[in-house]
Subunit: 376 residues, 4 copies
């Protein structure tokens, strides 16, 4: 970390900051620039105590140097990236393409059973379906079959788990209320999903530290890459590892698509920032059914290893978000296309050359090339 | 509501939509345009059933005409706006300027007592202070004196309530966990605050329907005016009325200020969209201590009747967010300035003329003026 | 178009609007809703005269129904999309993958010749290179070899055209000043590029109507899909057709990537909104060299048929934007990967099923499915 | 400036960077942290040559420490801010409130004369009016009385200048085309305005360096504070000083207001970043006529000393943007309210205490207060 002093900071102020840091046990260094003095603070600053030096007289700004998220961070170096892997039920995550598909919500036993068969036949790996939904309007009329009580929640969870087992698929269900984690566990749900509006729900994230179930944590609309990873880190601080990142659109000025699917950040996650598996939910990320196919396939190349797609045996009668649910044929074809794309990505892996592998070669040619190009 | 049919929709498809709507008990009308047929649906559509016409064959889009939020909506007309009013403790909200001030967090009994005296002497009306904080990083080190357990939470709530009573000020405290509402009530907290990250926490909002305490609901970073009012509406659907809106910055591309304080939307709330009182929190809205004063005073003119300001008896030793906390002298001066601004706003009320009051006059002069300007 | 009257509009006001529209030669229809009266205006409204009804007494809002851009709009229907095609030099655009590659700027004759060979050997189709650059800071030190005068501009243009011809590649060069269009034409540049900061430069766009050269028009940071297409339309109103759209990142709250590459809108352009070819510039769209490869390949699946990539024979000595320029090996591998991706996309074309092809089938099953799922 | 080396950078790479910087004549310092080595570069780096160290092997990032804009930057220190002042015609800018008012566009001689009288009588100081307009759609039908040719432009400029002189008001007119600067000068226009879409028009800004006329430079929708000041700086690099900043809304996710008026950045400009006068255009900043009054008054408190407001003698027949133009009575009342607000702001100047004035006092009490609050 660097402490940047104000342009008008006095010697006394600079010294006071150094002394305080020293008292706190930190080693420091100093750069005395033309405008500003900078004080470098060495070592792990995650425990920097409360009486924070940012408030000391003459201090202008603290500049972060190392990444604030430690556990969620990429472990390898650019030439040898290390990725984590774990399971949802019996489905391995990270090393092969996984498609999580199903309806926006569990609507009835017959509907979720039909959905399970649809997903299985299309080639999906995990069955999804909401039991208690968040809705942006209180007048939407349908908040899920399990929205009214814990009893209703249990009934809905039982339905989807049973449907999943019938076709031998693990299940992923969104959780809204931290007090219902044991219920999700008891009902045999295989993966918990945190919806976008709860992306920064402190209490829910804190409690999820304690479950062994894998968690899909959807990125909040307003979170930059590093902010998001710090919220993910909140679940990881005590050792939880089985977390799937999920890009499902950020909020920007675009109006045609419901959200802005940020595949640049997906690529950054996969190639630079973290070793966690990355999911893309193009259904919510675009809000337009007919864009889910091309965007899902694109996501595979951007770095996703998990795709989430809403689909319904008959979207015409879906109780929620039917406008973005795929028709069964569309789901089936999407999975075929994404699988082909995954194979191609795997086959072309060696074509990706990180700059780190080339830097020294080109640096060694700088003088020669400069002479050639500029006569320098 | 209008149902916009696709450019290529068939007669059969158009007829099917009309028939479905008719079966559902809705009256309809039709406009047959050059490109699109539009079907108007009359009356209250909030109960439009699940088998939503948006998914019918040939339908392109539903266009909302009336406001989706009914209870949060402005009740009067432009020439006779109607505003709600209620109390926080013994402090009336809506009809006069109210300042809610205090530290980011309750740090100790002595600290919150000192803060209460500071706030009282500065002229603030309500004491604020966090007991269980959300933090953007799990490594921040301090999540509030009440973060560890319900017992700790109770202890912290008792502290701030006691401090408030010592100076005869009601208290406003953020709540993170829906299961602790009774505890907040029992401890005598006078107003609950929903933090920005929980702005769309369905379970928390649903539960807050049942408390009689007033609620400050902070607008989420990614919510447009109407989306935000729909989340507010979620608390109001069963009759809860004592809600204060709060603008505290949205997320945009700006980097210099921590968030973008959206005073345009504050003005829209106050002058056009809603009769609920509007608070502005310029501390979080800018993240820069030295901008809180001018932005708070500006907010009064934009339409705020409540100001929230973080202040600390000595920001240098604040355990959280000290960089944006006002020094006691700054708080005191801010309240003096804001009070003068409020008086001026009240005195100048009649200078604000809604267009509705002038439209007919200028329309009656259209021909004459057009002749004068354009010889038409 | 629909004219939405205010909730409090009088009969007289409604009638006045209808009458005015009728006088202007428009046919109208009316829907009298519970809250609002709506007046439908039929036919082509692009010539709706100045004394716009939006300002009439009692009018609340005009609601656009048809697309405002006519020439840039998709011509076919969802089952039969029609795409335009044309050439840059001898390179056909639209029907096969085209890669436009080269350095950020032409730095010397030797450098651009080396760049041309690099691009050719890597498999690129069009050579790019800036001669007069826009820079975000006036202190960048280098605004391009042609920034000082028209004579310098001519010299720079000559260099890149000559280098292109040496390897039989047409050239694409950014233009900043409308008075230099003839110079670009005379020098033999094959394609003009409008940079992102000039995306809404009225004078430049107006003048470009008159050149026969194809134009790459980069989408402005702050433009939504439809706003952007209206600026494109500005060049097309008198018949110009050979325009390439270009997504190169929008401005959102993301900080890690320099901009937010909006592939959702690329997909919307290609599959729903327009028949114009779409380019993606992942170099500017991410600002991070090591993300250009995955994002370019992803773009192909999102709907791009043109890729723009900055590359330099030795990025270590590039005079501008070297940090995002690809090394020659990286360019070569990117083109191999993108070509394979394009082939796969072409092979999988039939897997994409627009909803329009399925709607009637599923609608015919609505009753049966509803009975099965819900016992209705 | 700080050069941040990669986590995996070698000793050799670090040394090479130091050596290169040294060869270039820079003094450096070094901080060897746990993860990263940082190299500080002292002195003015604006001339740092092309073979930029950012591209050297092992370099991760350059971190800017001093402000990149030098001439636009605030000159004083927090306790003694220094503001520039100059004139538009005979109207002094900076030291008192100035209102620039008039129609969106000059429509006819009679109309601009009527507008001039309206503005004068309302108390405005400068007359505005567009002669060649940019429009977001090519189908808007009206691009200004001077859009067709230089002759038409001259005619329109003559009209507004004459109208201004009739009421003794200087004039401000938007300029779109760099080749017309002499024409604006010759016609006697007193102030040039750069519209938002041209905020980053390199050629136009470069040419404006040479005029002695004051310039209002509107902030681009997508520009953060510092990015904007760098574009302003482009005009100032050779000594031009008479520039007025103008906030007129940025592009964010808000939909209800046309743009997001960023008064937080206005406050940052006035209180922290620059000594240039700041204008606020609430007409474009909100796009809603009935919000212009409260937002303009709020802007005065946020730090604006110039207000821009669109007004029309009869907005019902305005040829462009009539929906956001004030009625004459509204303009008059707005100016009365803003003038009262300005007086109050001036009277309350001493209530604003920058933190710098308090820091040492509170720092001296840290130990005592910590002992009192925390028993430390």
């Amino acid at each position: 970390m660097i402490v940047k002093m104000r342009r008008v900071a006095t010697e006394r102020e600079i010294h006071a900051v150094e002394q305080r840091l020293s008292e706190l046990g930190y080693n420091t260094g100093k750069l005395t620039g033309t405008d500003h003095t900078l004080i470098g603070v060495y070592g792990d600053i995650s425990q920097l105590p409360h009486a924070d030096i940012s408030k000391m007289s003459g201090v202008e700004q603290l500049i972060q140097i190392s990444r604030k998220y430690k556990r969620a961070a990429q472990k390898g170096d650019p030439l040898n990236l290390i990725y984590s892997s774990f399971n949802i039920g019996n489905v391995p995550i990270g090393d092969s393409l996984v498609v999580i598909a199903g309806p926006c919500s569990v609507e009835s036993e017959a509907q979720i059973v039909a959905s399970a068969h649809m997903a299985k036949e299309a080639g999906a790996h995990v069955l999804r379906g909401g039991v208690h939904k968040y809705r942006s309007s209180p007048y939407s009329g349908w908040e899920g079959i399990g929205s009214e009580s814990k009893k209703a929640l249990k009934k809905g969870l039982d339905m989807i788990v049973k449907a999943g087992r019938e076709v031998d698929m693990p299940t992923a269900v969104e959780i809204l209320d931290h007090t219902t984690i044991p219920l999700f566990e008891d009902c045999g749900v295989d993966c918990l999903q945190i919806g976008e509006p709860n992306s920064r729900n402190t209490v829910l994230l804190n409690e999820l530290r304690n479950t062994e179930l894998p968690v899909i944590h959807k990125r909040g609309h307003s979170l930059d890459a590093e902010e998001y990873l710090l919220w993910v880190e909140r679940m990881m601080v005590r050792g939880k590892e089985n977390i799937i990142l999920c890009e499902r659109g950020i909020r920007s000025h675009t109006k045609y698509t419901r959200n802005t699917l940020d595949l640049g950040t997906v690529a950054a996650f996969h190639y630079q920032l973290t070793g966690l598996p990355v999911a893309v939910d193009a259904s919510h990320g675009s809000g337009i059914r007919d864009l889910v196919h091309p965007l899902s396939v694109a996501s595979v190349f951007a770095g996703a290893s998990v795709l989430i797609a809403e689909a319904h045996p008959n979207p015409m009668i879906a109780k929620s978000d039917g406008f973005q649910a795929l028709y069964p044929e569309q789901l089936s074809n999407l999975i075929r296309a994404a699988t082909a794309a995954w194979k191609l990505r795997e086959n072309m892996k060696d074509l990706y050359i990180p700059s780190r592998a080339l830097e020294q070669t080109y640096e060694s040619r700088v003088d020669e090339d400069a002479a050639h190009f500029f006569g320098e």
